[in-house]
Subunit: 423 residues, 2 copies
Amino acid sequence: MNENTNNVHEYMQSLGQHATAAAREMSKASTATKNAVLQDLAARIIEQQTSLVEANGLDLEAGRAKGLDAALLDRLELTHARIQSMAEGLVQIASLQDPVGEISNMASRPSGIQVGQMRVPLGVIGIIYESRPNVTADAAGLCLKSGNAVILRGGSEAIHSNQAIGALIQQALKQAGLPETAVQVVAITDRQAVHELLTMDQHVSVIVPRGGKGLIKRVTADATIPVIKHLDGNCHVYIDEQADYDKAIAIAVNAKTHRYGVCNAMETLLIHESLATTLLPKLAQCFAQHEVELRGCERVCAILKQVLVATNDDWYEEYLAPVLAIKVVDNIDQAIDHIEMYGSHHTDVIVTENFSNAQKFLREVDSSSVMVNASSRFADGFEYGLGAEIGISTDKIHARGPVGLIGLTSQKYIVFGDGTIRE
Amino acid sequence: MNENTNNVHEYMQSLGQHATAAAREMSKASTATKNAVLQDLAARIIEQQTSLVEANGLDLEAGRAKGLDAALLDRLELTHARIQSMAEGLVQIASLQDPVGEISNMASRPSGIQVGQMRVPLGVIGIIYESRPNVTADAAGLCLKSGNAVILRGGSEAIHSNQAIGALIQQALKQAGLPETAVQVVAITDRQAVHELLTMDQHVSVIVPRGGKGLIKRVTADATIPVIKHLDGNCHVYIDEQADYDKAIAIAVNAKTHRYGVCNAMETLLIHESLATTLLPKLAQCFAQHEVELRGCERVCAILKQVLVATNDDWYEEYLAPVLAIKVVDNIDQAIDHIEMYGSHHTDVIVTENFSNAQKFLREVDSSSVMVNASSRFADGFEYGLGAEIGISTDKIHARGPVGLIGLTSQKYIVFGDGTIRE
């Protein structure tokens, strides 16, 4: 191990130790104290927006010098409007119900004990994200409200912005008498710091990566700690034999065109053969108005002459763009088989008036969100009533779908007796 | 890769592929069909007990020839009584409520959608266990009832017994029209098979090791798949300043002496200083009757002259034997600090009549079960009303404490609309 490697290791271990100690304090913090920190932080962010914009200016300048592209520079920028919405996000988190300490399922057992479960924080969360500096405040707010400590590792191109936001968070924690080390922003840009964070099993309970596919793949490959992640959002809408035409068109158009670059946008449309001849031309017309490029299976192309033939790769593709793959299926089973084979277990929709088909689809499609007669665009923490989300999980273990405060907690068993012993 | 390595890899991959396909069928199986398999299997086990005892005889003979010790041979043995209780366990699992398809928290959102969660199987479970062949039937029963497929890898010394039980399970699955490959017992004893199982991310959702610490450490180190595990059961009972003497004595004696070799037995007793002089002699008398060896801190030794001084290692020790470490503490905070520092986050108990101290202990002790005025021996799936348990988890992610059917499932979001789109 060379000297630098050793230094990064020591530095990250020290963050880990501080976070572990802080997590114990955070788990005991009252709801009122945590809300006070969030509100105080929101006020500080508004108050200090000029200095935040200045710090962000250093990052933007360095980014331009490095030749970062326009999209990346846009994500990196902290405008006054974005700072305002960062502060509003924190106030909104303050207004959410505190999940910590919630007791459920308390029931008496024949032995005389009462058994239930109490919701508790996970401990230390590690968040790894890319260029958007607002994640620093959002993620810290969610971790703090759920009674956790957090280590934040943002993109190196946003280091000044993240440090500036991190300093305000620590001021707010200190003001409330909570440990400043409950929220720590990694201060070095060395990539080894990420590897260290991903392998600190003894300090970190869970890793949440926020960013593109590349980041998430690297994090998953490296981590020895559980990761809450989603890789792809290859979402389907299946228009069933007994679909209502108006609902089908409204949902298909909304799911594809409401926003293109999001993980809950529809990427493949499946349509029952009995509706294909009548419905496909209408859908094609709507998509043409939105300039969505269509790629179809052979049966689609036989009906819509201008449409390109989809290759096998198209069925796997998360376009994140105004492109849509369309396939005609013989029946609901073929639709479900297609989704299971090519889908990414994110969000899939059936449009149908048939009760049994809806039930079958709900039960058999193995995705984190399964919908009947609703647009896939609803797969979102705010829309589900979770408040802000830290991410969307397509894993099956622990948390699935949008992950809000509850996903950052766990449950322990609690038992009440009266001197009760086991016979 | 040599030929054998390659063969084991191919063999395990084929089990994985079959299990993945079977899991989809199992997730759709009705409660009645799954219960029928469990009951049919119980009947077959009773009917075929002579041949099970014969198969087990081969294992016992080989074990004796290999010089296995008496305790291991005892765990390996399938007596008629044990076969009977294996069958009863399956009937009991059939009587448990089916968790699959359960819908909870269905609520309307301002957008017009209804959102809730549906309980679904995890998919394919990998179970790795040691000498007890009854685990084959128990674990298969729990996985089957929760709609999962399972790959079972028992100890090589029990291979004939496990294969014989596995064959009966497959007959029962076939009889009910379910895929036989929903339950597969690994037929080779090559240790590479374990490594393959632990790294089949693409097929296996979760690994459950059942056995001693050595097994669990090896599994955790090797696995690239989430593991539901507990390492140690270093459980504490803290007798608070305001404890009722009779309850304290009953709980301490029960927690230590009810059974010694179990993970929920008390290993360290903590006692408030104000009670030490009066209560310790009484406790010592009780433990003497049970021939429990005591090891105390200096303050304990000043009161109980015959007691050995505990070393620092004693506080970490899971004795699994008639040995108990005892420490006098100044106050409840010192007790909690001790538990956090030396404990294993399994089960910890406070004995107190003071409401606020009980609340503080419940909130601040970070263990999978935290109890007030009850014996640690209650930390058990049956006692908690979960029915049988597949294991006890001291992890924080996914499942914590005794893991029954619910712990072998996950929840997906379901959304109902009426052509609802996002504005």
